[in-house]
């Protein structure tokens, strides 16, 4: 199908984008890899698209005060090639090849993926597993929102109607940091049937600070806190038994299948977390 008519404007500054968001049914256009698909299918029909692709300085990946900051307009392909991400944000590096396909990753942005908050997408779960945060700017200025407070519901976030996500930040991985990532999809690069992003700290022989963020099993990325505690205790099978996810049936799989696959992924990810880091 073709999109319903809308008007289009390139924002020349962040302030202009924020002001334009005050117009009725206005939407931001970043990479467009989800938005334009929904326009084509007429699942959404905004009256104004505000193209923020030309805004300067919003695509920088940098290390600041022990945090890795990724500008909202950094494209997936850019993150995939980034040395800073490879060295200091290994969970994001691991997740990157699972996100869409090369042509999608050339356009899609990290900020867009977080702001869109698809429950089956990889990056929202990574942000939650890493206890990261989001920076947003709006008419009242800048604020920081923790990942745990950001994902509110199905495609719903803590962003206000006139707020623009400008960056995401995750703690830079230190020597004891361990990450794991696994996903099951019908075809490489498709949205997950079930996926799992995880981070932990290794001290001595055991794991601490285990964070397991599942995607594709609810309206938002979901932490499996009981399983986190069991995994910190060192028992993988106990962690699998402690999974208390409540997925719904969807077009890809039944709830029963998803629950089974969540256990399969937990075993794989636990192995990654326990692997010695080179």
């Amino acid at each position: 199908m073709k999109p319903a008519p809308f008007s289009y404007q390139k924002a020349r500054s962040l302030d202009e984008a924020i002001a334009l968001l005050g117009e009725k049914d206005a939407r931001l256009l970043a990479g467009g890899q989800s938005l334009i698909a929904t326009l084509n299918m007429r699942l959404s029909s905004p009256s104004l698209l505000i193209d923020i692709n030309g805004l300067n300085g919003l695509n920088v990946i940098s290390e600041k005060n022990g945090m890795i900051e990724i500008g909202a307009l950094a494209r997936h392909a850019q993150a995939e090639r980034s040395d800073i991400i490879a060295r200091h944000a290994p969970l994001i590096a691991r997740a990157m090849p699972y996100i869409g396909h090369p042509a999608i990753r050339n356009r899609g942005t990290l900020g867009g993926s977080i702001a869109f908050a698809d429950p089956a997408a990889e990056l929202p779960a990574c942000l939650l597993a890493l206890d990261g945060e989001v920076e947003a700017s709006g008419p009242k200025g800048k604020r920081t929102i923790k990942a745990g407070d950001f994902f509110k519901g199905l495609f719903e976030t803590a962003l206000g109607p006139q707020e623009v996500l400008t960056a995401i930040r995750v703690p830079a991985a230190d020597k004891g940091a361990r990450v794991g990532f696994a996903e099951l999809a019908r075809r490489h690069g498709d949205y997950a049937i079930v996926g799992l992003a995880a981070s932990a700290h290794v001290d001595g022989k055991g794991l601490s600070n285990v964070r397991l963020a599942y995607f594709g099993v609810g309206d938002t990325p979901v932490r499996a806190k009981k399983a986190e505690a069991a995994l910190a205790g060192g028992n993988i099978e106990a962690a699998v038994d402690a999974l208390d996810l409540a997925p719904n049936d969807d077009v890809q799989a039944t709830a029963k299948v998803k629950k089974h696959l969540a256990g399969v992924l937990l075993r794989r990810v636990a192995d990654q977390l326990l692997e010695a880091r080179p």
Binding site: P5, F6, Q9, L29, G32, L39, A103, I104
Partner: protein, 162 residues
Amino acid sequence: MSNHALDITLTVNGERVQGRVDARKTLVDFLREDLFLTGSHVGCEHGVCGACTVRVDGDIVRGCLMLAAQCDGANVETIEGLSDSGEVADLQAAFEQRNALQCGYCTPGMLAAAQDLLKRGGVPSREEIREHLSGNYCRCTGYHAIVDAVQAVAQQRAGKSR
């Protein structure tokens, strides 16, 4: 201030092109309907099938997931350009020799995606080829012949450049 129709100037296959486009017109529809470059195909129109794959500023993208209005100032290359310049001539020959196409609907996108991988140099593994082409659906061949053709060309090119 806001616009339903926009004037754009871009380069398509090396030629400067000007046009007035509806804001809602996708790049692939602009190429096909306004420029009559019908080699880029429209399949699913939501980014899944890859039939509309074209190059924008050197990178492959989904022609259905970019608006023509966003391409003001861009350098766009379609299968017509890749074909006329001879850049994918060896891939096209290998696809033909190995029956890597039947109906041909996916072929322009498949060639653009394959060339995107091969222009990085080296000989990718079959697994890497499959992964790079994972965003391009083919409903005829079962993919084996396509992977064969891409791998053969990679080996051929590596041999030549040695």
